[in-house]
């Protein structure tokens, strides 16, 4: 609980993940045989070096956000999105800007000043700005540089029946679960990779999979929970509280049926509630891992997140526990030789 709170409250927009990386490095150094980073910023934590098979488990550290691209003469900051941002969630959200975490808010023309037709349309990024409470461009330039990242500012709380609300659940939940896995001993070579720049095109995982060259890749993710108003149950991707979601296909990756069945069987054997992720769009790091070298068999286990890509995502702590149990079960089963990597396709 403490770890997921710390991880979600840390800042790490794509390309600027050092806050999350530093936290994880500090947390995991006591457990690692080797811990290192690469030129793009991935964090590698290795255990069981030299054992077989070699398994890479990846969770991306980055979150979506904004970037400062210019200044208005009155000191407001012009911004663009980084990653798959729903621009409709932006207005009036508190943010921090740059490495010094300058506080601000995403502003827009107040409703009183909007013309009737303007009120009917969601605000676009060009109509939004970040207000850091200064009066001039010169003052703003003392605090912020062009290219500085803007991240949502939100603290993480428990709500309702065993739920957690906060920002960046996608994918600090995966990071937290992967950190817990690192603390367990498995009879295999484990490289836990906390990847960067997933939200802008699986870029960290592309480099990491090449570096690690594993026999098998497992990705831990946060995914859309769409059991909400206005969505027919035929269109649910996953359900909050329904347990970990296993992917059979997304826009970056088709899971080998054998691997999906292997994970489903483990869930059934361990009596872990699970669901299949019923959306075939959006990508994950598995898209990059499965395409590395001459091809690497891979799988994705994700945790349902409501209001994903917003500063107020909701997860179920029961899903968290069950996702951890399933991921652990999968690694144990692989260590015991349960997954034959021959003829996997």
């Amino acid at each position: 609980m403490l770890l997921i709170k710390k991880l979600t409250e840390a800042y790490g927009v794509s390309g600027d993940e050092y806050g999350v990386r530093d936290l994880l490095r500090e947390e995991l150094t006591p457990y690692a045989e080797r811990i290192e980073t690469d030129t793009i910023g991935n964090l590698y934590v290795k255990k069981g070096i030299g054992k077989k098979p070699r398994i890479m488990v990846a969770a991306h550290m980055d979150e979506i956000g904004l970037m400062v691209v210019g200044f208005e003469s009155n000191g407001l900051l012009q911004v663009k999105t980084v990653g798959g941002m729903d621009e409709r969630v932006l207005v009036s959200k508190p943010v921090v800007v740059g490495n010094n975490h300058v506080p601000g808010v995403i502003g827009a023309k107040a409703i009183h000043l909007q013309k009737p037709h303007e009120r009917k349309k969601p605000l676009e990024i060009e109509q939004l700005y970040v207000d850091i409470g200064v009066k001039s461009k010169e003052e703003a330039e003392k605090l912020v540089k062009i290219g500085d990242y803007v991240a949502f500012m939100a603290s993480t709380h428990e709500i309702g029946e065993n739920c957690l609300i906060g920002k960046a659940m996608d994918n600090r939940v995966g990071c937290a679960i992967l950190a817990e896995l690192v603390k367990i001993d498995f009879n295999l070579e484990l490289t836990a990779v906390f990847t960067v720049q997933e939200e802008i095109g699986l870029r960290g995982a592309t480099v990491a999979a090449y570096n690690v060259h594993p026999d098998f890749g497992l990705v831990l993710e946060g995914t859309t929970a769409s059991d909400v108003a206005g969505v027919e149950d035929t269109g649910y991707v996953t359900k909050l509280g329904g347990g970990p979601a296993i992917s059979f296909m997304d826009s970056s990756f088709i899971a080998p049926r054998k691997v999906v069945d292997f994970i489903v069987d483990i869930a059934k054997k361990l009596d872990i509630p699970f669901q299949l992720r019923r959306l075939t769009t959006a990508g994950t790091d598995a898209g990059a891992i499965s395409q590395a070298h001459a091809g690497i068999p891979s799988a994705v286990i994700s945790m349902p997140c409501r209001y994903i890509h917003s500063p107020a995502s909701v997860i179920s702590l029961a899903d968290y526990e069950n996702t951890l149990r399933l991921a652990k079960g999968v690694l144990q089963a692989i260590a015991e030789g349960g997954l034959s990597l021959e003829g996997i396709a």
Partner: protein, 338 residues
């Protein structure tokens, strides 16, 4: 080639589920090559050993399909697309899962046909309820068009001509290929329809000197057609470019010269959209000079794709000539950076 293409066309093999088509192709090629093997992405490699230039020839064996995402309490299935499947074409089709289960594509009540989307369609496999449906099909299972291939004159009509026509061309060339100093890696690739995925990993593995893809291409010879130069029955097409690759000018020239030398009818193909395995191959490692031989095809990504068997014979002759020709890499492809 007629019987071969009919067999390949009718075999089940959507992207990510190429087991059956891989087995059929393996049986067709194994007696004509030195080695066959597969890899984690499911690609099938057929190798003719040699000491000369290492040439990779890729023909993707996957086809488009639909993937089950949901089973409702009445036993109806909802699905998403695997590759470029359009709801307009799917409506009213019969599809198969490759395990004997077939189904009809139905549509919810629509007040306007323009509102037809994949979400409005469902698949009916004759099950009376969810439990019955789940005995036949699992979420994540993939179906393809269910369609026999028929010959009309020199033309064949059926599903998955994209790209079983290309597979047949490569198989035919492997059978006809005489002794050559080149080392030939024919790869029947997977998951081309979802993003050139099999060719990306197989070309990394092979690390070839030259790459050649064999795939179908669109035509501009039908009523009110798009502006395309390629026509059915006018010969094999030599690709100039598409959205995934600008073919290496030297390979293009080599193919054109061989066609002239052997009197093989060819046409030049310029596509503004679409992609093929050469898109992945030419960007492998330090870059691989790559080209494409295309088979003209009408009605691509429908169950009534049409190819001309003479175009395929010509494509196969051109491919055989290319694979037989010694290539002096240093002369033909001097590295500009050296």
């Amino acid at each position: 080639m007629k019987e071969l293409l009919k067999k390949l066309s009718e075999t089940y093999g959507p992207a990510g589920r190429e087991d059956k088509i891989r087995q059929v192709i393996q049986d067709e090629v194994k007696n004509y090559v030195d080695e066959v093997f597969t890899d984690p992405m499911g690609n099938l490699y057929a190798v003719k050993k040699g000491k000369g230039t290492k040439i990779m020839v890729a023909a993707h064996m996957d086809e488009i399909g639909i993937i089950v995402t949901y089973i409702d309490k009445h036993g109806f299935l909802r699905f998403s697309n695997v590759g470029g499947v359009s709801p307009q074409i799917l409506l009213g089709q019969r599809v198969t899962f490759g395990n004997g289960v077939v189904g009809s594509i139905g549509v919810e009540k629509l007040d306007d046909i323009k509102k037809l989307t994949l979400e409005k369609l469902y698949l009916d496999i004759g099950a009376k309820n969810k439990a019955e449906a789940e005995k036949l099909v699992k979420i994540g299972d993939i179906a393809t068009y269910d369609r026999e291939a028929t010959v009309m004159g020199t033309r064949m009509i059926g599903k998955a001509m994209d790209n079983r026509a290309g597979c047949a061309v490569v198989i035919q060339a492997l059978r006809e290929l005489k002794e050559t100093e080149n080392e030939i890696y024919a790869v029947f690739t997977t998951q081309e329809e979802v993003g050139l995925r099999g060719s990306r990993t197989s070309s990394y593995r092979i690390n070839p000197d030259l790459g050649l893809a064999v795939d179908v291409t669109l035509v501009g010879d039908t009523p009110e057609p798009p502006q395309l130069n390629v026509a059915l029955g006018k010969g094999a097409a030599i690709k100039v470019k598409d959205a995934s690759v600008i073919c290496h000018p030297k390979i293009k020239a080599m193919l054109s010269e061989l066609a002239a030398k052997h009197s093989i009818p060819v046409q030049l193909e310029v596509m503004t959209a679409g992609g093929t395995d050469a898109g992945a191959i030419h960007l492998t490692r330090k870059g691989v000079p790559s080209g494409v031989i295309s088979v003209p095809c009408r009605y691509v990504h429908t169950p009534v794709e049409m190819v001309d068997l003479e175009d395929m014979a010509n494509a196969s002759r051109l491919l055989t000539a290319f694979l037989s020709s010694p290539v002096k890499m240093q002369e033909a492809f001097p590295c500009a950076l050296d």
